[in-house]
C-alpha cells in the first residue's frame, strides 16, 4: 500500500452553530493527484484550512504526512505549497516582491524556476498588486507555489480567475509536477480540468463527502448516453431494465442506460439491424449533476 500524504478521520468543523464539515473521511496517497469537487459553500476551502492548521478541527483528526495538521503545522508547511482560493495581496507590494516573500517563508528560492514560471504565466512582476486583476493575483500565488520545492501542492480553485489559455498552461504544469512524483490536492469546480488531471476524486456536498474513488470507479455508478439508428424500428426498449429517458429522433432513438445493463441493451438493439451507434461515457459533469439533482437523476 502506498503511503498516505493526507488523511482525515471523521473530520468535523463547526462555526458556532453552523456545521461546515461533517465527518469527512479522506485518504490521499503520496504522489497522487486528487480532485476535490463540490459547489460553492460545500466546504472545500474549510477542509483545506484545517489541513493547513489555519483553523482547528472541532472533532476528528486531520493528518498530513502522518503529522497532526494543527500541532505540527510548521513542520508540515515546510513540505507543502498552497494556493488559496481567494487570493488577496498587499496592494503596495509588487508581484515580484510577494513571490519572493512567499517562497522565502518556506525555504530557498530557485531563481531559474521563478523566471521560467513568470514567463509561462506571462506575469509582469514589477507591478504593484493593487493593479492586478483577480487572474493576475492568482498567477502570483501559483508562481510562488510552483517556484518552491514542495512534496505536496494544495490548490484551492486555482484557475477560477484564469483565462482558458492560462488554464491550459496550468494544467500542463500540474501534469509535469505529477510526473515528478509530486502529490497534488486540487479543489475545483471546473470539471474538465479535474477529469484531465486527477487520479481520484472526492465529491463534497454540504460538508459531507458523498463519493470518492477513481474516475472509472465512479463511472460505474452512472449512465452512458446512447443514440442509435436502425433499419427496423426498435421495439421493446421501454420495458428494459436500466433504460431511461428514451426520445425518438429522425431515423433513430437516444436514451440513457445504466453502466451495468449495457450488454443486454446492446444485444437487444442489434436485432433491429444497427446502422449507426454512438455511445458516450458519463462525464464528471454527469456525476456531479447527479449528486446535486440539477438534472432529474435517480
Amino acid at each position: 500500500m502506498p503511503a498516505l500524504s493526507l488523511e482525515t478521520v471523521k473530520l468535523t468543523k463547526r462555526f458556532g452553530r453552523f456545521t461546515a464539515l461533517n465527518g469527512i473521511d479522506l485518504k490521499v496517497n503520496e504522489g497522487e493527484v486528487f480532485g476535490y469537487i463540490g459547489p460553492n459553500g460545500a466546504g472545500k476551502t474549510t477542509t483545506i484550512r484545517v489541513l493547513l492548521g489555519i483553523i482547528q478541527a472541532s472533532e476528528g483528526s486531520a493528518q498530513v504526512f502522518g503529522m497532526d495538521a494543527w500541532k505540527d503545522a510548521v513542520e508540515i508547511h515546510k513540505r507543502v505549497a498552497y494556493v488559496p482560493g481567494d487570493v488577496s495581496l498587499w496592494p503596495n507590494l509588487t508581484g515580484g516582491e510577494v513571490i519572493d516573500l512567499f517562497v522565502s517563508l518556506r525555504g530557498k528560492l530557485d531563481r531559474t524556476r521563478r523566471e521560467k514560471l513568470l514567463k509561462m504565466f506571462d506575469l509582469d512582476p514589477s507591478k504593484k498588486c493593487r493593479s492586478y486583476s483577480k487572474g493576475n493575483r492568482q498567477k502570483v500565488a501559483l508562481v510562488a507555489a510552483f517556484a518552491s520545492d514542495a512534496d505536496l501542492y494544495i490548490l484551492d480553485e486555482p484557475t477560477s480567475g484564469l483565462d482558458p489559455i492560462m488554464g491550459q498552461v496550468f494544467q500542463e504544469y500540474v501534469l509535469e509536477q505529477k510526473n515528478n512524483g509530486k502529490g497534488i490536492f486540487l479543489s475545483s469546480h471546473i470539471l474538465s480540468e479535474v477529469e484531465r488531471l486527477c487520479d481520484r476524486v472526492g465529491i463534497i456536498r454540504d460538508g459531507k463527502l458523498v463519493e470518492t474513488g477513481t474516475l472509472s470507479q465512479l463511472r460505474h455508478l452512472t449512465r452512458f448516453s446512447m443514440s442509435v439508428e436502425t433499419e427496423n424500428p426498435i421495439e421493446g426498449l421501454e420495458g428494459m431494465r436500466g433504460v431511461y429517458g428514451i426520445s425518438s429522433e429522425r431515423g433513430g432513438v437516444s436514451f440513457q442506460v445504466d453502466s451495468a445493463e449495457i450488454g443486454s441493451v446492446v444485444a437487444h438493439i442489434s436485432r433491429f439491424k444497427v446502422v449507426k451507434l454512438e455511445s458516450m461515457p458519463p462525464t464528471l459533469e454527469d456525476l456531479f449533476m447527479r449528486h446535486y439533482n440539477v438534472r432529474g437523476g435517480t
Binding site: R49, L52, G53, I54, I55, Q56, A73, V74, H77, K78, Y82, P84, D86, S88, L89, W90, L93, T94, G96, E97, V98, I99, D100, L101, F102, S104, L105, R106, G107, D124, P125, S126, K127, K128, R130
Partner: protein, 535 residues
C-alpha cells in the same frame, strides 16, 4: 479648437449630481469650523490676554508653524482669528479641492467612465472643463457662505467686506489647488499618483512659506499660502494677493487644458515607473513583512509626534505669560512652588503627548487584526511560520515603536527649548528622555492588553480603543482639580506613571507594570496559538 468644449454644461450637471453628498458634507464641516470658531475666539480672550498671546507667537518656531503675526500692536479678535485659522483652513480646503478635481478627471478616466462620456458627442476638453467649472461653483459657494457667515456673527473687528475678503481668500486658494490637481492628473496616469503629487505640492508650499516667513519674504510670496497670508486679513485687508493668486490659477488651468488636448486618453505624460521585480533581502521573512507594512505609519507618526513636541516646546519662550493668560491653562498645567512654570508645563505636555504616542503603539499591534481580516495573514501562516512567531513579530515592532515615539517627544521638546530659551536650565535632553521613557511600562501594559484581546477575543479588539479613550479622559480631565473621583486614574496604567519632576522615579512600580505587561503578552500569545487564524 471649436467643439472641444461641446456638452460641458451637461457634464457639469452630472458632476454636481455626483457631488451632492460629498461636497455638501465638506462644505458643512468647513463652515462649522470657520464660522463656529469665530465668536469663540472673539470672546474667550480679553485684550490683555490676546496681547500676551501675540507675544508668544513672535518667535521663529511659532512663525514657522503659523505664519507672521500681523497687527500685534493692536491684536484684535480678527487679527488673531486670521492668524490662527487661515493657514489650517487653506490646507483643509486644498485637500477637498485636490480630491474633488482628481475624482472627476483622472480617477474617472482610470475607471473607464471617461471613455463612455467621450464616445458620446462631447468635446475633448469637456470633461476637464466641467470639473474645473464645478470647482469654481463649489469654491464660490464656500467663499460666499464663509464671508456671510462670519459677518453675521457681528464680531467687532470682523466687518462685512473684510469677512468677504476672508471668504474669497479661502475660495481662491481652494481653486488654485483644484487647478494644480487637474494639472497633475494630466501628467500622471494614475489617480493615486496624481493625488500624492498634489498633496506633496501642498506640503512643499507650506514648508516654503515656513522657511520664507522666517528669513525671506520672496520665498513666502512664491508659495500661494504665504501669498494669501500677505492679505493681512482683519488687519490691513489687502485684495491684491487674492487677485495675483487668481491669475496664477488661470495660468495653471491653461497649462492643464493644453496638456489634456495633446495627450491620448488613459495616458499620462509620465508613465508609472515599474516597481521592484524582486524582494529585497529585508522583506524575505515574516518580520520583514511586518516591518515593511508598518514602517511608513510608524515613521510618519513619529515625525508627527516630534513636531507636536517641538510646537509645544516653541511656547516655552513666553511660557509664563502664556499660562497665566488663562485660568484654564493654569489649572491644566498645575502649579507647584518648588518648580518653574516651564517645568510644570513640560510635565503636562509629556503626559498629553505620551497618550497620543500610545495610539501609535496600539495601531502597530492592531495591524495584525486587519491583516487577518483582509486575508493576508493566511499567506504567512500557511507557510513555515508559527503563530507564536508571527504575533511576537508584531509585539517586537510595537515595542520598538513605543521607544521611538517617546524619544521623538523628548527630542522635539528639546530642539524647541534650545531654540527659544536662552538657558534651558534643567530641561536637558537627558532629563527629557527620562521623563518620557518612564511612560514606557504603562504603554506596554496597554500593549499587553491589546495582545491579550487579539488572542482571546479577536472580534472585540476594538475594545482597546474604548480603554484608550477612558485613559485619555481620566488622565487629561483628571488634571483639573476636584472634577473626577480620585480612584478613576487608578484603573488605568497611566495613573501609575511618575510625573517628573514632581514625582520621583519609582523603580518598583515600573518593574511591576513591566511584569504585568509581560504576563498579558504571554497570555495573548498562548491564546493566539490556540485559536483559528481566520476570524
Amino acid at each position: 479648437m471649436r467643439g472641444n468644449f461641446e456638452n460641458t454644461g451637461k457634464l457639469v450637471r452630472l458632476i454636481l449630481r455626483r457631488e451632492r453628498v460629498m461636497s455638501a458634507v465638506w462644505l458643512a464641516v468647513l463652515l462649522l469650523f470657520m464660522v463656529g470658531l469665530a465668536p469663540a475666539l472673539g470672546s474667550l480672550f480679553d485684550d490683555a490676554a490676546r496681547a500676551a498671546y501675540a507675544e508668544t507667537l513672535k518667535n521663529p518656531a511659532m512663525i514657522a508653524l503659523m505664519g507672521p503675526v500681523y497687527g500685534s500692536d493692536n491684536y484684535t479678535a480678527g487679527a488673531m482669528y486670521s492668524n490662527a485659522m487661515l493657514l489650517w483652513v487653506i490646507i483643509a480646503v486644498a485637500v477637498m479641492n485636490i480630491l474633488l478635481a482628481i475624482r472627476h478627471t483622472r480617477a474617472d478616466e482610470e475607471r473607464g467612465r471617461t471613455e463612455i462620456v467621450r464616445s458620446a458627442p462631447t468635446g475633448r476638453l469637456a470633461n476637464l472643463n466641467a470639473a474645473m467649472i464645478t470647482a469654481v461653483i463649489v469654491n464660490s459657494a464656500l467663499a460666499l457662505l464663509t464671508g456671510l457667515g462670519i459677518a453675521v456673527m457681528g464680531i467687532d473687528s470682523m466687518g462685512f467686506t473684510d469677512s468677504m475678503l476672508y471668504g474669497v481668500a479661502v475660495g481662491v486658494s481652494g481653486l488654485f489647488f483644484a487647478a494644480v490637481a487637474a494639472l497633475f492628473s494630466q501628467v500622471f496616469a494614475s489617480a493615486r499618483t496624481a493625488v500624492m503629487f498634489s498633496l506633496a505640492a501642498l506640503g512643499l508650499f507650506y514648508l516654503m512659506r515656513a522657511a520664507g516667513d522666517m528669513s525671506s519674504e520672496a520665498l513666502s510670496l512664491i508659495s500661494p499660502m504665504g501669498l494669501i497670508q500677505r492679505a493681512q486679513i482683519y488687519v490691513e485687508n489687502y485684495w491684491w494677493p487674492v487677485l495675483v493668486l487668481l491669475l496664477e490659477t488661470s495660468a495653471v488651468v491653461a497649462v492643464a487644458y493644453t496638456l489634456n488636448a495633446r495627450r491620448d486618453m488613459g495616458q499620462g505624460f509620465i508613465s508609472a515607473k515599474p516597481g521592484r521585480r524582486e524582494a529585497s533581502s529585508s522583506l524575505r521573512s515574516a518580520f520583514g513583512l511586518t516591518f515593511r507594512l508598518s514602517q511608513n505609519t510608524i515613521a510618519l507618526c513619529s515625525l508627527g509626534i516630534f513636531l507636536l513636541g517641538a510646537s509645544y516646546g516653541a511656547i516655552l519662550g513666553d511660557i509664563e505669560s502664556f499660562v497665566t493668560s488663562s485660568d484654564w491653562y493654569m489649572q491644566i498645567v498645575g502649579t507647584d512652588p518648588n518648580y518653574t512654570t516651564a517645568q510644570m508645563f513640560v510635565s503636562m505636555v509629556i503626559s498629553l503627548t505620551s497618550l497620543m504616542a500610545l495610539a501609535v503603539v496600539l495601531i502597530t499591534i492592531l495591524k495584525l487584526r486587519s491583516e487577518e481580516r483582509d486575508g493576508y495573514a493566511e499567506h504567512v501562516l500557511s507557510r513555515a511560520v508559527s503563530r507564536r512567531r508571527y504575533l511576537l513579530g508584531y509585539v517586537v515592532l510595537a515595542l520598538v515603536a513605543s521607544v521611538l515615539v517617546q524619544c521623538a517627544i523628548a527630542v522635539g521638546l528639546y530642539a524647541s527649548a534650545v531654540a527659544v530659551l536662552p538657558d534651558p536650565g534643567t530641561l536637558t535632553l537627558g532629563y527629557l528622555m527620562k521623563a518620557t521613557l518612564v511612560y514606557l511600562p504603562a504603554m506596554w501594559v496597554m500593549l499587553g492588553a491589546a495582545v491579550l484581546l487579539i488572542g482571546l477575543a479577536p472580534k472585540a479588539t476594538a475594545a482597546i480603543w474604548g480603554y484608550y479613550g477612558f485613559t485619555f479622559f481620566a488622565i487629561f480631565i483628571g488634571r483639573l482639580p476636584n472634577l473626577l473621583p480620585g480612584w478613576l486614574d487608578r484603573i488605568t496604567p497611566f495613573g501609575y506613571v511618575p510625573q517628573l519632576p514632581v514625582d520621583h522615579v519609582n523603580l518598583a512600580m515600573l518593574a511591576a507594570l513591566t511584569s504585568l505587561a509581560a504576563v498579558l503578552v504571554v497570555g495573548g500569545v498562548v491564546f493566539y496559538g490556540k485559536r483559528d487564524a481566520v476570524t
